[in-house]
C-alpha cells in the first residue's frame, strides 16, 4: 500500500515522462472506480468502459491535479462524471412495476424471508430518485465517507447527508408497504 506522499512522488514521475508508472495508480484504485461506475450504469461492460475512460482522462489532466484534495477523490469525481455522461448516452431499460411484482411472486416459494426482503429492498432502491440512490450507494461503499461522496457528486455535504437519511427512511417505508402488500395477497 502506498502512502499519500509516495503517491505524489509517483505522480511527479509520471508527469516527468514515466507513464508506465500510472499502472500502479490504476491497480490501486480500479476496484473503487469500477464500483462507482457500476452503481451509476448498472451494467458491467458499460461500467468497465466508463471507468477506463475516467482513468485515461485523469492521466491526460494529471497536470491540473492541484493536490489540495486526495488524488483518489479527484479521480473518483472524474470517473463519476464520465459514468454520468455514459448514462445519458445509454438508453435506460424499462421495467414496469407490475412485471417486477409478478417476477417476485413466482420466486417467492423458493426464497427465505431474508432473501425476500432483499428483493423488496432492491426494488425499493430502484424507485428512489437517482441522486438519492447514488448518494446512498456510494456512501455504503467501503471507505467512502460523506465528505468524499459530496466531493464526488459535486454537492454540499449537508445535501448529501439529507439525501442519505431521506433515502434510508424512504427505503424503510417502501419495504413496509411492499411487505404489507405481500401479506394481503397471501
Amino acid at each position: 500500500m502506498i502512502t499519500t506522499e509516495e503517491e505524489y512522488i509517483l505522480i511527479n514521475r509520471i508527469l516527468a515522462g514515466e507513464k508506465q508508472l500510472y499502472a500502479t495508480l490504476v491497480d490501486k484504485y480500479k476496484s473503487y472506480a469500477y464500483t462507482i461506475a457500476m452503481k451509476i450504469l448498472e451494467n458491467r461492460s458499460d461500467a468497465e468502459e466508463a471507468a477506463q475512460d475516467g482513468f485515461i482522462k485523469a492521466f491526460h489532466y494529471l497536470k491540473s491535479f492541484n493536490r489540495q484534495a486526495k488524488f483518489s477523490t479527484w479521480l473518483y469525481r472524474i470517473v463519476f462524471n464520465t459514468a454520468i455522461s455514459y448514462k445519458r448516452k445509454v438508453k435506460p431499460a424499462f421495467q414496469s412495476i407490475e412485471t417486477s411484482i409478478i417476477e417476485y411472486s413466482e420466486r417467492a416459494d423458493h426464497q427465505t424471508e431474508q432473501d425476500d426482503k432483499k428483493i423488496f429492498i432492491v426494488k425499493a432502491m430502484n424507485r428512489l430518485n437517482e441522486a438519492d440512490r447514488l448518494a446512498i450507494q456510494l456512501f455504503y461503499i467501503k471507505e467512502f465517507n460523506m465528505e468524499e461522496v459530496a466531493e464526488m457528486m459535486g454537492q454540499n455535504i449537508n445535501t448529501i447527508k439529507v439525501r442519505i437519511h431521506r433515502a434510508r427512511l424512504r427505503l424503510a417505508d417502501e419495504l413496509k408497504g411492499l411487505l404489507k402488500q405481500e401479506a394481503l395477497t397471501l
Binding site: 507513464k19 508506465q20 500510472y22 499502472a23 490504476v26 491497480d27 480500479k30 476496484s31 473503487y32 472506480a33 469500477y34 464500483t35 457500476m38 461500467a47 468497465e48 471507468a51 477506463q52 475512460d53 482513468f55 485515461i56 482522462k57 492521466f59 491526460h60 454520468i84 448514462k87 445519458r88 426482503k117 432483499k118 429492498i121 430518485n129 437517482e130 441522486a131 438519492d132 447514488l134 446512498i136 450507494q137 455504503y140 461503499i141 467501503k142 457528486m153 459535486g154 454537492q155 437519511h165 434510508r168 427512511l169 427505503l171 424503510a172 419495504l175 413496509k176
Partner: protein, 176 residues
C-alpha cells in the same frame, strides 16, 4: 402505526449509526421499551441498514482492466471545441457589438446611407461597356438591421450552448 416526527426518525437513524451520546442513547432505549411504534420503525430501519452494509462490497473489474487503460493512454480524450469560457467571451462580444450597432442606428448614423450603386458612373463604363447599365439600391439601415438580427440569433445559440445546456445537463445528472 402513527407517523413519527422527522426529528424522531433522525434520532433513530443516529442511534443505529452509533452517533448518539450515551445519555441520549439511554433515554431513547428507555423510550423504546414502552413504544411499539418506535420499536417497529427502528426494526425497519435496522433491516435497511444491514442490507446497505451487506451490499457495501467492491466490484471486481476484469483482469485486463489495467492493461486496457495503459493501452489507451496515447489516445487523447475528446475535448470540447467550444469551451464555456470561450463561449461566454464570444457571447459578450456579440452582445456588445449588437448594442453598439443599435445605438448607432437609433442615433440616425445610417439614415444617410440610402443610395444606389450606379454602374453608369464608373470610369470603365464608356470604355468597356456600351450597353445601358443598371443600378443597385443600397440601404445602410436595412443592412445594419439584418446584421443586428443575425447577431442576436448568434447570441441565442451561444447562450444555449454555453450557459443553458450545461446548466440543465448538470441539474439532470444529479436528479434535482
Amino acid at each position: 402505526m402513527n407517523k413519527l416526527s422527522p426529528a424522531k426518525e433522525e434520532e433513530l437513524l443516529r442511534y443505529l449509526d452509533g452517533e448518539l451520546e450515551t445519555s441520549h442513547k439511554i433515554k431513547l432505549e428507555a423510550e423504546l421499551q414502552g413504544a411499539a411504534d418506535l420499536k417497529e420503525r427502528l426494526e425497519e430501519l435496522r433491516v435497511i441498514r444491514s442490507f446497505l452494509t451487506s451490499k457495501a462490497t467492491l466490484e471486481t473489474p476484469p483482469k485486463t482492466f489495467t492493461q486496457k487503460v495503459m493501452a489507451g493512454l496515447d489516445t487523447q480524450p475528446v475535448k470540447s471545441v467550444f469551451s464555456p469560457r470561450k463561449g461566454l467571451l464570444l457571447l459578450m462580444g456579440v452582445i456588445i457589438a449588437s448594442v453598439l450597432a443599435l445605438m448607432l442606428l437609433s442615433n440616425g448614423v445610417f439614415d444617410q446611407t440610402n443610395t444606389s450603386l450606379l454602374v453608369d458612373t464608373t470610369p470603365i463604363k464608356n470604355k468597356w461597356i456600351q450597353e445601358t447599365t443598371f443600378s443597385i439600391p443600397f440601404n445602410g439601415k436595412i443592412l445594419v438591421n439584418g446584421i443586428i438580427f443575425l447577431n442576436l440569433a448568434l447570441a441565442l445559440v451561444l447562450l444555449d450552448r454555453t450557459v443553458l445546456r450545461p446548466l440543465f445537463q448538470k441539474r439532470s445528472s444529479v436528479g434535482y
